[in-house]
Subunit: 281 residues, 2 copies
């Protein structure tokens, strides 16, 4: 069965590569000419793609995803349409009542966007979240979405749209914004690059993320993100006052909480849980 | 010539492994019994080690480094004594006038401390900063320190103590504190671990760093660190207000500055400068 992929960047391109590896024919649409290398055929437009495929993946930035849902939801001849955007509430709202649609989000990525970074094993063993069905009609699409996620190598994980967005504000949107602001501040101090080491490289790895991808995410999830930024900013300013007074008790307890959090959110998630962490490089 | 290594953890252990690979005999002192595996002989005390070696590396936490300098500087029979602590002003002050002493700092590391993480190539191609000589007598020691750094595979980089500490506040101490506070905040929100992805893993990699190692660093470099924390906290709170007002202009410009900083401080520092970044894992 032909798979349509709208947006053949890192995520869409990786989906296309994996699907073709599994013997599916893939038609893609993307403005980037490099996308042609990842698909069997390039459609001239989103509408043309929408007419050719019965299973359709919208692998577009959030704003383009919402626009594509509005453009395509009039049609009734899909088995499955899924998106992969990082915020789920506006997607679930835009697609409300569209039976073949399932809102999903693969928790995988790289700091390099674009088709050149695509790889067939990007989702191997990674969580791929999806918003479970609200009614009987949609349940068939959700079953198909779960099966699709499994063919991609992902681990299907059900989560309501609002719970997803609150969690991602913590695990993704806040870290991204903090890393970008931190990188800007560090670079602005103009330290000799020779004194930037492997720890900084790891911390700043997300600092190359494109703003065009993040602007709609940040806008769509502004409320929980703003609350977290305010809280974090307050904690950092409190620490500044502590340090100037020679107090380090609060910072010590943050280190302790950080160890617990790192264990739970990072080390326990690694395939090689019990082995030593690899050296930074 | 016998090399003495006080503190056989990640850094001291890696120095010992490299030196032995190059045919040197290494005597070490450490309270951790695992250290014995990395050296030819274990000294029963710092004083015993100090009596046996003419070249001595102090690979201890900052506070222990300062204490060791006070204990050993009465002796005059060293060719070279160097430390590796992350803050240089208090070390340079404590060792002022001690001819064989050179304050140094290898910009290498891993988020895992301790002898088990040691490896002979830890310093390969990495900057190893040193504080240049203040007078003719010390110049001989500095020449020996440069030669020592080169045998370790490091790139000797001269920097004055105060300039080093200001730069490291930016490139290391601020990122460490921010990552620890961020990890504590993220974990406190109790997101499902399934929704923590590879980007978060990279961002939080330093969150496992031991407080015992960081407490003396943070205290010693409190002033520039506090100023940076205050500035960063203010920027994050400003962004929170922006987001709630639907404004993203400042955040967009931080992303832009972050790209430039990432390029200059991370990508340009990689051996494989021109290749694509590896995927997050």
């Amino acid at each position: 069965v032909t798979l349509g992929v709208a947006g053949v960047g890192l995520i869409g391109g990786s989906i296309a590569l994996r699907a073709r590896e599994r013997g599916r024919r893939v038609i893609g649409f993307d403005l980037d000419p490099r996308a042609a290398a990842l698909v069997d055929e390039v459609a001239p437009s989103l509408d043309a793609l929408g007419e050719r495929a019965r299973t359709l993946v919208l692998a577009l930035p959030l704003d383009a995803t919402l626009e594509a849902i509005r453009r395509l939801r009039g049609r009734s001849d899909y088995d499955l349409v899924l998106d992969v955007a990082s915020v789920k509430v506006p997607v679930a709202e835009a697609a409300h009542g569209w039976a073949p649609f399932v809102a999903t989000h693969p928790i995988a990525g790289a700091e390099t966007a674009g088709p050149a970074a695509a790889r067939a094993d990007l989702f191997e063993g990674r969580t791929w979240a999806y918003v479970p069905a609200g009614d009987a009609q949609a349940a068939a699409a959700v079953d198909r979405a779960r099966a699709f996620i499994e063919t991609m190598g992902g681990r299907a994980f059900p989560v309501e749209a609002a719970a997803h967005d609150r969690a991602l504000a913590l695990t993704s949107h806040l870290p991204q914004v903090v890393v970008s602001v931190l990188a800007a501040l560090v670079a602005g101090g103009e330290p000799p690059p020779e004194l930037a080491g492997p720890g900084l490289a790891s911390t700043l790895r997300l600092a190359g993320s494109p703003w065009s991808l993040w602007e709609p995410i940040v806008r769509a999830n502004a409320e929980p993100l703003a609350a977290l930024l305010r809280e974090l900013g307050g904690r950092l300013q409190g620490l500044a006052a502590d340090l100037q007074a020679g107090e380090v008790g609060r910072l010590a307890s943050y280190f302790e909480d950080a160890h617990v959090g790192y264990e739970r959110l990072v080390r326990a998630r690694r395939p090689e849980t019990n082995s030593a962490a690899p050296p930074l490089s």
